[in-house]
């Protein structure tokens, strides 16, 4: 009781005195983050001439044409679809393949296990940029240039190390008694994996999935070298091309940018917990 009382006593007056400077700093940092985004959102509603005269204020007349033009364009939706398709496929492949391997690394004792596992963890140290040239040559040889599969397979391969590490850690934490019970009840190893382990590992699976989706969604270098035809472009490629094409039409580029931010930010709002959890875990693991 006494400790609680002194704690409460020692604590209460402090934040009250301190919050004003704290808030001031938070507001400055917040402004640093938000002003560029607000500039883009508002800029999308302006005419180009107005952008240079009145960059910060609200638009004098809200021009919706920039946004509606982008929303009416076939290429924007195509890029959105391509990005979504590639991100989802990458995620399913990465998580599926990594879960199987993580299961074996977590629950089976066999010779060579640690060597294999170390090989995968070493993959965390391989910079993607180092491999891009041979990957390009390989994909060309396999006829996968211009094919979404080329991007999906490579992204999945580079996503494996972190995914396997996180999933293995989680699979290990599930008590052995559950496995014993399942096997006694006649479960095959795959049955145990599919019907018991994966459902139990939902939080970890959600986290690695979020990481894979965000990684794929933001990837630029690989799609840049794999896709030459416009029909295959993902959003990052589309934005870059759009900027080149409409170089002088700043307001229109801003509208495109803002619309391209929406899916990422929306996804972030929904999956924030898993993303942050995964990154901090991934960071400490890496």
């Amino acid at each position: 009781m006494t400790t609680l009382a002194t704690r409460g006593h020692g604590k209460k007056p402090r934040p009250r005195r301190n919050t004003l400077p704290l808030h001031a700093v938070a507001w400055i940092v917040g402004a640093f983050i938000l002003i560029p985004v607000l500039y883009a959102v508002l800029g999308g509603f302006k005419r180009n001439s107005e952008l240079s005269e009145n960059p910060f204020g609200l638009p004098t007349s809200w021009v919706t044409g920039n946004y509606t033009d982008v929303l009416a364009s076939h290429s924007f939706w195509l890029q959105l679809w391509n990005s979504t398709f590639i991100a989802v496929s990458t995620t399913v492949l990465t998580v599926g393949v990594a879960a199987l391997a993580g299961f074996v690394f977590a629950r089976f004792a066999f010779r060579g296990r640690e060597v294999l596992f170390t090989l995968f963890t070493a993959g965390l140290m391989f910079p993607f940029a180092v491999a891009i040239l041979p990957i390009f040559v390989l994909l060309r040889t396999l006829g996968l240039l211009g094919n979404p599969l080329g991007v999906i397979l490579v992204q999945a391969a580079f996503g494996l190390p972190l995914t396997i590490i996180i999933l293995r850690g989680f699979f290990r934490s599930i008590p052995g008694e559950i496995e014993e019970a399942a096997i006694i009840d006649g479960c095959s190893p795959f049955g145990f994996f599919w019907r018991i382990l994966l459902p139990m590992a939902k939080p970890a699976v959600a986290t690695v999935s979020v990481l894979a989706i965000v990684g794929s969604w933001n990837n630029f270098m690989l799609p840049l070298v794999v896709f030459t035809e416009e029909a295959n472009w993902t959003l990052p490629l589309g934005i870059q091309q759009f900027q080149g094409q409409y170089a002088s039409d700043t307001a229109r580029i801003l509208a495109y940018l803002v619309l391209a931010m929406v899916p990422a930010l929306g996804f972030y709002a929904v999956a924030e917990r898993h993303l942050v959890g995964g990154l901090t875990a991934g960071a400490t693991k890496g």
Partner: protein, 319 residues
Amino acid sequence: MTTLTRGPEAVKLPAPAPAVKRRGRWLTITLFVLPALVLFLLLVVAPILVAFYASVFRWNGFGGLPTNYIGFDNFTRLFGTEIFTRDLWHLLVLVVFSVCVQLPFSLAVALLLNQRIRGRALYRLVFFAPYVLSEVITGVLFSLILSPGTGMANQLLGVFGINSDWLADPDTVMPSLFLVMTWKYFGFHMMIYLAGRQNIPNELVEAAQIDGANSWKTFRHITLPLLGPTIRISVFLSVIYTIQLFDLVWILTQGGPAHSSETMAVTMFEYGFKRSQVGYASAISVVMFVLSLVFALVYQRFVMRRDLEGATTSIGGRT
């Protein structure tokens, strides 16, 4: 043996034909690991080995594997050019700025958000948001903001009489690049620090305060040392990332003006994909790889060794 005491069901466990079980076990292991292993060996390990192999050839990237062996000529050529020393210098500048400016800034903001201030959940959400936006979106947005004519930066700073073509002036291009990196990445480091800070028991901080330590002393002698492992990892990630920095630079400047913001990855891309000097570009890749690896090994050996011994952080707090 211990299972015997558990009950009759457990006794039955080892009974079914061991030979069949064994084979089934290896079959499971093989079938489950093989897809990951094939994907990983074919698309991660092999390409990196090929990059090493190709780096000793003159090769335009066509016609199967390279044949025109030239020894270490690509490397001597690389180390002889000014571009290479410039890239290294850019790497060093960005690393020093990141470690000495961006990371302390992230740490300060993390500690700020660890205080009980109203709306801190919202602040966290906002500060981390740029990390989710792709580097292309970030790059294009800032190339517009920093552009000389209509850009917001000049209009804002024009009030103070400052005016520049930020990305086209060799003197301002690196600071501009660094600013964009900070905008995008400080939230990521902030989150790592916040997670690290939350692993420090509040009792320790409170005990120090009860003993009469002021905020600075508490930070200096309690928070900072206990955040050590987190800070070392954040520095590590920051350096490894900077060695491979490509997307942002490519979008903002393509390495220009006159190579003044070029990174190794940009140089590699330029030679590999624009000029079809795949052998030479592979040599640049190899240097990038060796830099990362040497840095990682040295850093882990001398800086992170203590941390790795006790590292148990994982999802859900378990390993």
